[in-house]
């Protein structure tokens, strides 16, 4: 039903639309020819109540996708009330004045459609793909919950959804070995006052404390048309679609102006070393994270290229050494995670059994030191761009991916077609820039997280350096029987 930020991001990465990258592919490095990147047709306008509409017409399949973005995420929460944006996403599927509890999903499915919603730190979206003749049903459903949700929100439903969200957390976090890795990393990377320091799914204690009034206030503050963007892509008629939007969304009154949280840039003065134990794990893992930049920084393109230079394929620098030459790891993956106001660069390693995390960390450090010392070759930066150009075209297949691209471009870049300019900017990245961002961002201030099976603290990377054991109480209890029986 719902996805929290990390999995949503992974899904988008898989769709390759966030890849960044270039429109220039060079087959064989011999001749350069431009990959033709389709420009999505676009009609953009704003309703009198402030809602932005992005319409993209394409009749090549009798399918339409719509997505409604509310520019609110866990970043808009306050300490002590975390998890709200995501809990709210659940409430949005529990009915509104003219849609009974549970009816939303059954109605969409009976129309042959699919739906979901997702919450990140920065935004929440609700989306449907439908046979194109059903477009107005999708619009009606989305408008009904924007206009009338609070007529159906009650204590009983709130209590039930809280339990379902707790089950979601158990599934994704608590029952997974090292499932808390990303939240302990965020908590170490950002000061507690920074809204990126808490997980999107929030604290279960906070969720339990949420009152019906809290939920209602959240809706009134953030679920207004002036905080929403609707993107519709597929087999539509522009004039008729505009009429549908006017009819169902037009009468919804404008809400209050929204004060956006100002999130200061983050750097770490020094290295933080963390250790996580888990009784259910059989092998260790290692993760290193550096604070980087948000979506508005032009450096994100070079950081993205840097991640690929390190681990894109078997010839990439870090993958080559760790997986192929030294064979210390079964896999390694580097990526630059970009949020609206901040980001982090992460290297994640799954070691071979018996490989030393210390040795792996040494290799990572030496490979990054070599990137900083330079120079990088044009070829190792170019290959990244070739992949990005092709995957941008293949990533436009699903109408929902196009709608999401348009909404994301507008909300974060002010340009629905930013996937094209992003490609151009990524293509312009030079080896020297990749080297510069490595020097600038991959410095001493970082979070090194050693994840080891419970009790195997001897496997921690550089165990003689001071570290903080961030193992949650539940997993610590997990270690108890092992100590008792051995």
């Amino acid at each position: 039903m719902t996805r929290t930020a990390r999995s949503a991001r992974r899904a988008l990465l898989a769709a390759c639309l966030l890849y960044g990258g270039a429109a220039q592919a060079q087959p064989g490095g011999r001749s350069s020819s431009t990959v033709d990147i389709p420009t999505l047709p676009l009609v953009r306008y704003t309703l009198p109540n402030g809602m932005t509409a992005l319409l993209s017409e394409d009749h090549s399949a009798p399918v339409v996708a719509l997505t409604v973005w509310y520019h609110v995420g866990s970043k808009n929460e306050k300490p002590g009330r975390t998890g709200f944006a995501h809990l709210f996403e659940h409430m949005m599927f529990e009915g509104s004045e003219n849609v009974a509890t549970g009816e939303h999903r059954r109605l969409i499915q009976s129309l042959g459609g699919t739906f979901n919603g997702s919450t990140t730190e920065d935004r929440t979206n609700y989306y449907e793909t439908l046979p194109s003749n059903q477009l107005e049903m999708g619009i009606w459903l989305e408008a009904d919950r924007m206009a009338t949700l609070l007529t159906r929100v009650n204590q009983e439903r709130l209590d039930a959804e809280r339990e379902i969200v707790k089950n979601e957390r158990r599934l994704r976090v608590d029952n997974q070995p090292f499932g808390v890795a990303s939240e302990v990393t965020s908590a170490a990377m950002f000061p507690a006052s920074n809204p990126y320091s808490w997980p999107v799914i929030g604290s279960m204690t906070d969720l339990s404390a949420a009152s019906l009034d809290d939920v209602k206030d959240f809706f009134r503050t953030y679920y207004s048309p002036n905080n929403a963007t609707i993107a519709i892509s597929g087999d539509i008629d522009i004039a008729r679609t505009k009429a549908m939007l006017d009819r169902w969304f037009g009468p919804i009154p404008r809400g209050p102006a929204i004060e956006r949280p100002r999130v200061p840039a983050t750097t770490l003065a020094a290295e933080k070393r963390l250790v996580l134990e888990d009784s259910r794990a059989r092998l260790p893992q290692l993760q290193i994270s550096w604070p980087t930049v948000g979506v508005h920084s032009p450096d994100r393109f070079a950081l993205d290229a840097l991640s690929s230079v390190l681990t894109l394929d078997r010839t990439s620098r870090l993958r080559k050494v760790l997986v192929y030459d030294r064979q210390l790891a079964t896999n390694v993956f580097a990526f630059d995670n970009v949020n609206e106001d901040a980001g982090y660069f992460q290297v994640f390693v799954t070691p071979r059994p018996n490989a030393s995390l210390t040795e792996i960390e040494n290799v990572i450090d030496s490979v990054i030191a070599a990137v900083k010392a330079g120079p990088l070759t044009p070829a190792e930066v170019q290959r990244v761009k070739n992949y990005a150009a092709v995957s941008t075209v293949t990533g436009l297949q699903f109408r929902i991916a196009r709608a999401e691209q348009l909404a994301s471009g507008l909300v974060f870049d002010g340009d629905p077609l930013s996937y094209r300019t992003d490609l151009t900017r990524a293509q312009a990245v030079t080896p020297a820039e990749v080297q510069r961002v490595a020097r600038q961002y991959l410095g001493a201030g970082r979070v090194v997280l050693s994840m080891v099976p419970a009790g195997k603290l001897d496997q921690v990377s550089r165990p003689n350096l001071p570290y903080t054991n961030v193992t949650p109480p539940a997993a610590a209890a997990a270690a108890t029987p092992a100590r008792g029986t051995n």
Binding site: K78, N133, T221, D313, N386
Partner: protein
């Protein structure tokens, strides 16, 4: 602290504004939202036209033209899987396939990687998706992988070691453990469907095994190709013939004779202890018919009422009504004709409610068999979902390629989808109850629970069902 202050200020301002806005909205609102829009009828949906061709050496090629975007998807359906492995070499098939990208007789693995990077798309033995102009070059690389692997010894050693590590990590996952135990108890531990690669079986695989497996099974008679996208059938076949037409005959032809499953037994709970699991992973299921059964349509549609979607009965009960789980679903795992299928549901249940969830689950099984007859609304829901969703199923080039590959993989006639809507449309409520009664039996089901035994065992023991504690391979353990 500053964040908190700012947020409080925002909320106060918001509350004031919302009061005013809602008053204005109430005045302006004359729209009757309870009157749902009437939508136009859907235009008749035409299934993508599949053109079947053959290469000169007999390899069937399915081509579907789709010019939405300048892209092409190619898929290879290869009958060289777990059923073709010697039992003591479990893991040989995926290892052989993985080793195809480790070098060919004319290209090293690094040269292959360079070639993929020049194109901007990876190519594997299973196929690729790329821009139209990369089609011919990608086909050539795909052919090189499939036909001319060099299987370097050093790469094999690395792949074996990595596979062993991955197998160990898999056993950290409750879903893998549940799956493995389920197949072992449902089919029997020695059955091919219950076989999994282990560090021991993978450790014993040699380069000679790979060479033999490749020589035996990666042959034209075991291969089918699918091309979908911005290409004509003539151009597609020309490009494939140039590369794959030279693939020499020989080797063996894959067969799909599989030993019978264990006879069904009275419903038993197989409990695998996974200490400190806040949720229990629960599977409930049994053996089903082959993909070519005439009951296929009724079974799938019955399952849509029972557990296939979030709007189905199982999820409505376990998630919506009881909040035991984040989600529950059930489905049919079809295999290539003539093999049997598996009917199976799965959910991750909060530990303390594991027994309650099983009670509800078995109740839903009795319900769909007739205690709670399928209502006209449920029947319409399931049939409408299955037929109205066809445009979404074939929306993109990669989806069409996958659907066609699935038909070829399952040995189902290529015109399967042409009569699909009609077959679904003819189903009645009693048709659904009949297949539920025939195939779903709450008295002869396998229930696998992977969870924290200390927390959940007392409740499970109180259910008046046999409880068998098992190990990671589904074998009974004392206690």
């Amino acid at each position: 602290m500053t964040t908190l202050t700012r947020a409080r200020r925002t909320l106060v301002a918001a509350a004031a504004l919302v009061g005013a806005a809602m008053a204005a909205g109430a005045h302006a609102q004359t729209l009757d939202r309870s009157r749902r829009p009437t939508v136009p009828a859907a235009a008749p949906f035409r299934m993508p036209a599949v053109e079947m061709r053959r290469l000169s050496n007999g390899i069937p090629v399915a081509v579907v033209q789709n010019h939405q975007l300048p892209i092409v998807a190619v898929r290879a359906v290869i009958d060289a899987g777990a059923l073709q492995e010697p039992p003591e070499k479990a893991g040989l098939a995926p290892l052989t396939i993985a080793m195809l990208t480790e070098g060919t007789t004319t290209r090293t693995a690094d040269q292959l990687a360079e070639a993929f990077a020049d194109l901007g798309n990876p190519v594997t033995a299973a196929g690729f998706t790329t821009i139209t102009r990369n089609f011919d070059r990608s086909v050539e690389l795909m052919g090189d992988l499939l036909m001319h692997p060099s299987f370097p010894e050093a790469a094999l050693a690395r792949n074996k070691a990595n596979t062993a590590a991955q197998l160990r990590r898999l056993r950290e996952q409750p879903s893998f453990l549940a799956d493995h135990v389920f197949n072992a108890v449902l089919f029997g531990p020695a059955h091919p469907y219950a076989r999994v690669a282990t560090e021991q079986t993978v450790g014993g695989i040699t380069r000679a095994d790979l060479v033999a497996f490749h020589s035996d099974w990666l042959r034209p008679q075991n291969v089918k190709l699918v091309v979908v996208g911005d290409v004509t059938p003539d151009a597609a076949v020309r490009g494939l013939e140039r590369v794959f037409g030279a693939w020499p005959a020989g080797g063996k032809t894959a067969s799909f004779d599989v030993p019978a499953a264990r006879p069904a037994a009275p419903t038993t709970i197989y409990l695998l202890d996974r200490p400190n699991s806040p949720q229990s992973t629960v599977l409930v299921g049994q053996v089903g018919p082959s993909r070519d059964t005439p009951d296929y349509y009724a079974l799938e549609t019955m399952n849509t009422v029972f557990g296939g979607l979030s709007g189905s009965r199982l999820n409505s009960n376990l998630r919506e009504r009881h909040a035991f789980t984040y989600g529950a679903n059930a489905g049919l795992q079809w295999r290539r004709v003539p093999q049997v299928s598996t009917l199976r549901g799965q959910s991750d249940i909060v530990a303390a409610k594991t027994d309650s969830a099983i009670v509800e689950w078995l109740g839903e099984l009795r319900g769909i068999r007739g205690e709670r007859a399928v209502t006209p609304a449920e029947l319409a829901f399931a049939k409408d979902n299955r037929t109205a969703s066809l445009p979404l199923r074939f929306e993109t080039v990669t989806q069409v390629a996958q659907e066609v590959a699935n038909l070829l993989q399952s040995a189902v006639p290529i015109d399967f989808w042409d009569s699909y809507a009609q077959r679904i449309g003819g189903l009645s409520g009693p048709d659904l109850a009949a297949v539920a009664t025939k195939y779903l039996d709450p008295q002869q089901s396998v229930i696998v629970v992977v969870g924290d035994r200390r927390v959940i065992e007392p409740g499970l023991r109180a259910l008046n069902l046999p409880v068998q504690v098992v190990d990671e391979n589904g074998a009974p353990v004392a206690g």
